[in-house]
Amino acid sequence: MSKYETVIGLEIHAQLLTESKMFCGCSTKFGNKPNTNICPVCTGQPGVLPVTNKKAIELAIKTAIALSCKIEPSSVFARKNYFYPDLPKAYQVSQYELPLATGGHIEIEVAGQKKRIGIIRVHLEEDAGKLVHQGADRIMGSDSSLVDYNRTGVPLMEIVSEPDIRSPLEAKAFMETLQHLLQFIQVCDAKMEEGSLRCDANISIRPVGDKKLGTKTEIKNMNSFRGVLKALGSEEKRHAEVKEAGGTIIQETRYFDDTTETTTGMRSKESAHDYRYFPEPDLVPVEPEGAWISEIKKTIGELPEAKKQRFETECGLSAADAELLISSPVLAAFFEQAIKLHDKPKIVANWIMGDLTAYLNENKKAIDEIDFTPAQLVEILKSIDKGTISGKIAKTVLVEVLKSGKQVKDVIAESGMTQVSDEGEIIKIIKEVLKHNPGPVAEYKKGKKATIGFLVGQVMKASKGRANPGMANKLLAKLLAES
């Protein structure tokens, strides 16, 4: 047990799923040729003015509601002033003193323990451009640098947590839960590796029991969940080592290096900024009407945590199964549509998480990227219930349907894999089997009843697995008794 307690607060930037940029009509599409998604406004030409993207406000409000925040009746955009070539106006339009929403929370779970993490604020801002350096990997020392303004002005939502997080593991869980939530309510695709979800952390340590916070450092450049874990792990260790050696922590910004898995400080000169925030005079305050907020609330639907609870209580799924199903909103929706058609949630869940998920993983596809519907799955499951196919054959049918995209009934018919439930046909097979296995038949008659299992196996083998096993069992017993 460490003698220090770690205190972490996170600042998350999430790229909102809007068609156009925060303050102009340019596309937010990723991967276009450099400087093609640009206009006078987002390149900061003299004289241009911003116009706020209503969709971006809507998505941020949606998030704020999902995080149980208070939507502020009036929030104000501000200018954050600093010079950098990727920032064409030399100020970023953001929200400062009066953010869009304040005071929410989110529930995380680490090692079976639930914990509530406070959310200080949710606000909107615009992204900067992208620099490409020639001859060095930073602007200092490079021969030349090129700037791509395609990303300039893309809407970002900043979510700031309370310093309620107590370990790197909790930080990682927070990020995962938040990612899941943002994806679930469809405001952000939230892929850390692609930069649509980014996070900076403030971390400090203090002796266990102390109320006063230690000096914090700000950690940047954590580009994956693993990065969050490693960066904060190495930084809390560094803090402890500095303190143990009698040193003091310097308040600074530190960069995480993915390869060394450690953080390095920047020269303090670079991190000492006075951004000279002041209210953006070119924009009017954001004052969302109550009716609009109610409309947005309706679009949220059931949040993942509530859905999970319902899957457990109403569908009788285990916590682990419910968790797996809600891990993706499309998977959960698939499950819910399927059980509407086939009220056997446990069986449906098993098939989704078993064979279907196995196929998806193998082919690196998401469920909404393939041409397979809940109705098709239910058709297969109903064929088992009707006895048309066996459970084992159903697995083959599923894979065939997934691969070929054919209709379920066609796959079953074409494969000749339908179950044989015709009494005459099964009797014919049994008679064949009895004729070729005089030994086991004799043993059975002597009283070794278990031998029937072997004989059923032979019947199944002879029918290439198609004989209805229940009928085979019954008829075999009958014929043995008669012979």
């Binding site: 030409q45 003299p46 003015l49 002041f278 005079p281 009017v284």
Partner: protein
């Protein structure tokens, strides 16, 4: 014909007494004759103007799409973006800047069929009251070329006064339309903040800037206002209110109109001759049946100080984009990013611009923000309240536009503070966002004196009516400088 007003020329054009081409050529030949002594323009667009005049003649010939502006030569202040045409703000930092888009008001003027003659000189980035701060060349007052034309729209005012344009646009942040109108003996009108789109107006101080007309009489002001005014979805601060027909407001009648004369602007610091001419104007209004009331606006004392915090603060941010990265001047000396910034801005900006950027940066800095910027915003509110109180007693406020007539070139150049004080009558109006006009009301030492009339927000019609009535009953506006 270059000496006539737009409304006079409009009937000559539509009655086919003159052609638009003849008119444009007449104005161009006047430019050729006097421009070397006045230097009103930064760039003149003769070939384009001739082309546009021919197009206007087509419209007139076909009697299609005629407006009171069709075929009328107009000069545009050089801080309004003109697509494909230099827009320098009279600054070295933008001396090669050709905008990729038109300001909304430029689109409107073009759509009305006007002929755009060229871009007029100004104090660099509209910072100044004499047009001596132009980074290109100074402009001289047509009434006496040893004196300044006022500023910052000195080029536009001088062009109209010298008949080098029939109409001109100006921008007014602290008096930049009204004070040069007063110095040059023309009519200058600053509409209510939000009445005219600022999209494409290169920002000086966003919360104060407003575009308006400079014309030879009040009727022409109403005509140009009919084109300029109106909501623009590209400017979030432009107000979505119906626009009246301003020409209809031109009624020669002020009976029972309550005109408040501002006590603080008829006392200390106001030139003796100006005081006496303003008193004569008040007498004239009384003769015409208006009721004159003395009003006091005690907060005026703080207006100049307040303005010189708010305007530079916004300017320091607005002008940060001129960094040599994207357009305009870039220092050739720089070896790295920081020296590129330093050298570009050192070489590109003039002294007054640098002075205001420094004042503004200081006022917004951490630790000073509350004492300067925030305090200034509070005083701004007090000034608005003082105006509201005054307007509870009267319809229009009256004062001199400027405490003095045009001063000598170089006289105040070395004393910025006395230059700042020359805007004492105009600045409070911008801080309150109100509409105000300056119109000729007399002479002192052969130089024009301007009368300022201020209205309530969006009560442009009342201001125009009072101004029109005064004009119809005096003949100051008919005086012409002898160049």
């Amino acid at each position: 014909m270059h000496g006539k007003t737009a409304h006079e020329l409009h009937s000559l054009l539509t009655n086919k007494k003159i052609s638009a081409l003849e008119l444009t050529e007449a104005v161009i030949s006047q430019i050729d004759k006097v421009e070397s002594r006045v230097q009103a323009y930064v760039s003149i667009n003769k070939d384009q103007a001739i082309k546009q005049a021919k197009a206007a003649d087509e419209r007139i010939k076909n009697n299609s799409n005629l407006t009171p502006l069709t075929g009328i030569p107009v000069a545009i202040k050089d801080n309004m973006c003109t697509k494909g045409m230099l827009t320098t703000c009279s600054s070295k930092i933008l001396n090669n800047y050709i905008p990729p888009y038109n300001a909304t008001i430029v689109d409107k003027i073009k759509a009305a069929g006007a002929v755009i003659l060229g871009k007029t000189n100004m104090d660099e980035f509209a910072m100044g009251s004499s047009t001596e701060n132009s980074g290109i060349h100074p402009t001289f007052n047509p009434w006496n070329t040893k004196t300044v034309p006022g500023g910052s729209s000195g080029g536009s005012a001088a062009a109209v006064a010298a008949d080098e344009a029939i109409l001109a646009t100006g921008s007014d942040t602290g008096g930049s339309i009204r004070q040069p109108a007063s110095f040059c003996g023309v009519v200058g009108f600053k509409p209510t903040y939000g009445r005219v789109s600022r999209y494409g107006l290169v920002a000086f101080a966003s919360s104060l800037d407003q575009i308006g007309p400079l014309t030879k009489d009040v009727t022409d002001t109403a005509i140009l206002m009919n084109v300029l005014a109106g909501h623009d979805p590209k400017d979030s601060t432009s107000v979505n209110l119906p626009v009246p027909d301003y020409q209809k407001a031109l009624v020669n009648d002020v009976k029972k109109m309550k005109i408040g004369y501002i006590k603080e602007l008829l006392g200390k610091g106001i030139d003796k001759d100006i005081k006496s001419e303003i008193q004569k104007a008040m007498k004239k209004f009384a003769e015409l049946g208006a009721e004159l009331i003395e009003v006091s606006l005690p907060s005026f004392e703080y207006a100049v100080a307040t303005y010189y915090l708010i305007a530079p603060a916004e300017a320091s941010s607005n002008l940060a984009r001129y960094d040599g990265v994207k357009y305009g001047h870039r220092s050739k000396e720089a070896k790295d990013l920081l020296t590129m910034y330093y050298n570009t801005r050192r070489e590109g900006f003039g002294n007054e611009v640098k002075r205001r950027i420094m004042i503004g940066t200081y006022a917004l800095s951490a630790g000073y923000y509350d004492a300067y910027y925030l305090k200034a915003l509070k005083v701004r509110t007090l000034i608005k309240e003082d105006f509201a109180k005054a307007f509870s007693q009267c319809d229009v406020l009256l004062s001199p536009t400027s405490p003095s007539v045009a001063f000598k070139v170089g006289e105040k150049a070395a004393d910025p503070l006395s230059m700042y004080l020359s805007d004492i009558a105009t600045i409070p109006v911008n801080l309150a966002g109100l509409p105000a006009i300056s119109l000729p009301c007399g002479f002192s030492q052969g130089l024009p004196i301007g009368l300022q009339l201020v209205g309530q927000a969006f009560a442009e019609e009342t201001v125009l009516r009072a101004a029109f009535t005064f004009e119809q009953n005096t003949d100051w506006h008919k005086q012409k400088p002898s160049l």
